[in-house]
Symmetry: D2
Subunit: 343 residues, 4 copies
Amino acid sequence: MIKVGIVGGTGYTGVELLRLLALHPQVELAVITSRSEEGVHVAQMYPNLRGHVDLKFTVPDLDQLASCDLVFFATPHGVAMDMAPKLIEKGTRVVDLGADYRIKDLELWSRWYNMEHTAAEAAAEAVYGLPEVYREQIRDARLVANPGCYPTATQLGFLPLLENDLIDADRLIADCKSGVSGAGRGANVGTLLCEASESFKAYGVYGHRHLPEIKQGLTDVYGKQVGLTFVPHLTPMIRGIHSTLYGVLKAPAGDLQALFEERYADEPFVDVMPAGSFPETRSVKGANTCRIAIYRPQDEDTVVVLSVIDNLVKGAAGQAVQNMNIMFGFEETAGLQIVGLMP
Amino acid sequence: MIKVGIVGGTGYTGVELLRLLALHPQVELAVITSRSEEGVHVAQMYPNLRGHVDLKFTVPDLDQLASCDLVFFATPHGVAMDMAPKLIEKGTRVVDLGADYRIKDLELWSRWYNMEHTAAEAAAEAVYGLPEVYREQIRDARLVANPGCYPTATQLGFLPLLENDLIDADRLIADCKSGVSGAGRGANVGTLLCEASESFKAYGVYGHRHLPEIKQGLTDVYGKQVGLTFVPHLTPMIRGIHSTLYGVLKAPAGDLQALFEERYADEPFVDVMPAGSFPETRSVKGANTCRIAIYRPQDEDTVVVLSVIDNLVKGAAGQAVQNMNIMFGFEETAGLQIVGLMP
Amino acid sequence: MIKVGIVGGTGYTGVELLRLLALHPQVELAVITSRSEEGVHVAQMYPNLRGHVDLKFTVPDLDQLASCDLVFFATPHGVAMDMAPKLIEKGTRVVDLGADYRIKDLELWSRWYNMEHTAAEAAAEAVYGLPEVYREQIRDARLVANPGCYPTATQLGFLPLLENDLIDADRLIADCKSGVSGAGRGANVGTLLCEASESFKAYGVYGHRHLPEIKQGLTDVYGKQVGLTFVPHLTPMIRGIHSTLYGVLKAPAGDLQALFEERYADEPFVDVMPAGSFPETRSVKGANTCRIAIYRPQDEDTVVVLSVIDNLVKGAAGQAVQNMNIMFGFEETAGLQIVGLMP
Amino acid sequence: MIKVGIVGGTGYTGVELLRLLALHPQVELAVITSRSEEGVHVAQMYPNLRGHVDLKFTVPDLDQLASCDLVFFATPHGVAMDMAPKLIEKGTRVVDLGADYRIKDLELWSRWYNMEHTAAEAAAEAVYGLPEVYREQIRDARLVANPGCYPTATQLGFLPLLENDLIDADRLIADCKSGVSGAGRGANVGTLLCEASESFKAYGVYGHRHLPEIKQGLTDVYGKQVGLTFVPHLTPMIRGIHSTLYGVLKAPAGDLQALFEERYADEPFVDVMPAGSFPETRSVKGANTCRIAIYRPQDEDTVVVLSVIDNLVKGAAGQAVQNMNIMFGFEETAGLQIVGLMP
């Protein structure tokens, strides 16, 4: 049993963390912070938690947080940069669901996030929390940078191809579709039901902050700089990401289906579907699973990978809990034995 | 640990039962039947179950089913009528999620279901599986008739008022709204996305099969025949029922809020919300909870009760598991500790 | 050909007015105002208008507006109260789609709108713009108070029953469901797609501003004060209102279907559907039509009326154009010959 | 004024044709056929047409159809193949919204449609009804093959690039997303609201019937065989197609924005949006418009084109009416002056 805190619990990743941690057998939820909602019962804001979470939001307090074994940051970028180094110094481990520690090149980070990075040491130490690649480093990490949602779905889809140097890494294409919860719980006109339902559109084509994160991850496993065109789209649904990935085979490929199945055979949360399957985002709704299918349309040399996750679970809170499980030596699936809600 | 079978597992209540039972600590899923899908892997039809349920659909076989401690029927009416009596004779207990045993007056049943009832004895023995009213009888029941979705939300909302004889029982109004999953997984034009989304309509105003069931239940707790106008509506969402209930107070009422809170104080799955709350169906999405709020608009003598459930959980599969827990002396909340999926 | 202005054109009723007026054969759109969007092309905010409307938002200017034959106010309450009297004095007629002139009892108005009413004379002169009741007065009106959305659907459903004194007017019930666009285009958390889709809830049970408006309208046609319980609900769709209305017959009723058909026989925008129909909100999506069906469930004495409109058309902009047509002697259906968008 | 007939009017393209033709100033709707719904009022099936269309479905009759100036076929493939040749022989012109005459290579057609083609002469004569490319031929055509929905959005997006030989035509990628109405009004489990809403998935990756149609069209304007990877996806909304198109520039490109604007300057139904725009499908909901935006992310050599249409309008019925207008010398925009329904 460990004591856990959450900084910034009012957004969608915050409430999703609460949903998962409330039922985790080895976690005691000790503190959840929010400056704006101080004193408000968590369950008043999120009635689904009535009877499950009996905490009030409090103002972040370093000492109180430091009494936890682990603190999750579910905050906009810039917050964890300030507080996480202080916590790890005091012996509290941190999983940051925000973007502060995802990019190793801090100049690049600053350019994309319009902000100076003030925690270079912590950033250098931070481990990128994609267990399928960095599990061993996560085990002993004091600070884990939980991956973004698009980066999770996209990297898991490209990995086996790049690790085996099968496709032209200069011209990768990731055509990604996200449910609206990826935009968070902020009151914006663009994500009103009347604006975002019954419609489909691309956004961020000139540049989305997940682009450098994905490129860094793919470059790391490939060993050389990759080239990537990344087009995110807004889909009229609450949860789910569908990455449709395109790459051109360098040479006659072998059995790609077998390659993917072997790569992920021991992964509890990556499910390579049978050949000919079409992964649906709803099949992972509420679950920490990434489902993948591989195609070579018309047997030509373009490979198409379909990769789906729930952006709030494997793309955020669920992966954070998975990282926690690894960090504390729990069963990796503890608290994450969830069947997707279908229909 | 008990052995459980499911007859008719291809519909939405079937897959929902599987979702719940797959993670139930005291249940071994032994058999699931479907004539049309014989030999098909359950997880092929419902990919959310991949990795959780490793069963194939089989043709119903009485001996195989009789080797179970409990069999759930998730079948259209008429099926359980035939098989359930044979099973209980062999010592296998039954929870019927269909309609065969819900109505005690078999002539009335025949009129609404256009079919002769051929299991009068079993029907007489069957216990109506609304634990909030019939918990003691459920404990020892061999055959439980699991309530319909509208009846569950509506009865739980009216109960405290009728038990205390506070409203005019001759003119009850239940204006009920259901998500589309209530109509099942059959391929009908009316429930296509293009027909049922972005629209709202009433249906069954001249008579819905849940009307006699609700009237029977309310009459039972009231002690006298009640009068009810019941108008169901189709709402463009997958899950959820919202019953808006109207009654006219007979006399100056006391504290209705307190009345409801006391009535349900010990109920693990009925949550009376604070005064002034508006229960949202999404707060119970995937959960076995009924959330209720009570109003007297403009302090006049009309009482308005708002009652929400997930039609597939507290309105079907969840309540069935709750009944199973009661029947076998398990913790009543076993396998049902679920936080609603929100957002 | 008349010159028309719109004050407050950035909200949903504003853009809907533009959609209708852009194609109206007798209207020249001269000016559209918005303080916040000054200088912005209308079609930049609403790309559906590209190629149809070539106007920029301007700051409201009395003289410019006074050069119009008619000005529509699509503004929050309080705005038209200030400007409309000045315009009608200058000879420009006004249709107010806001709430400033809907309630005749200004004290009552002030209580519900938390604001003093400063235009008593104009309010006294204003004609309530429900053509099915006040067509003759609208013809010569200088100032028309365009009805609210719930009030339109609800009054049209109750009218024939109250005009003929058929139901107990003390205990009317209006259980109303609205699409989310009724809440406007403001950036509120509650109307985000992730909050309002896949869910259903009541709101405003203790009192909604349309309650006094509906009561005033019904009282006017009935001749005596009516009693009404009005419960609005939020439905996960963009457009549409469905009013389910309940009343108790005072005496054995005659042919209600015929009564409704006769009452609305000459109305171009009220469609009494054949007996046994279930009006769907989608059948009026984008159209200025109110569709109605009448029921007596189980032939008892409770009458159920189903009434649907598009809240942005017959419930707002379309009805405003209909009023304009009447005021200027155009064909009443001019610019409103629209087939609902289905599917 | 011309007399028009529709064969197969019960599907979504059929009702959409009715919506458009009901208000077309130069069209008299004379006959609409359906074998299954013979005798049924069109407005009973589609209540949005009440008051607008007063026709009953009849069994197709060659003589009756031949009395029309134009007959639309809104039928599954195979039907127009049989009847259209007979009609054009009798002097009735035909627009086929089905697939029978879209592919010039009849062997290829047979392979994709699993059916022998029995009208080689008519197929040879048929003009592909994409006015932006074949307007002159359409003018005098007796038989027009109305393009498919994906092909319309995709070809209009690629055209300027291929006509000017700017991109590598061997590796085109079309990642396309369609609303569910593209799947038609048939009662299929896969398009139920409970299956297709709140989810996103690809389909037909191994081969969709629109692939050969798109390749033929692109090859025709390019002058050489093109290579195309086409991945269609199902999006949880009713109407709309969003094509995201990828191509690799062969050489430093000039001003692509200007190129597109010039190409479509005189096209009434293609709207090249300002640089930096993200076309939303809802901006063309119900309208015959294709909206396009062009990008070069990170100024690299991959071009991204975003192209949206309403699949039932510019992707089907609207384009058919546009073709009719051209064929009969009407104003090309007659009956198609529609503002998209937004919100």
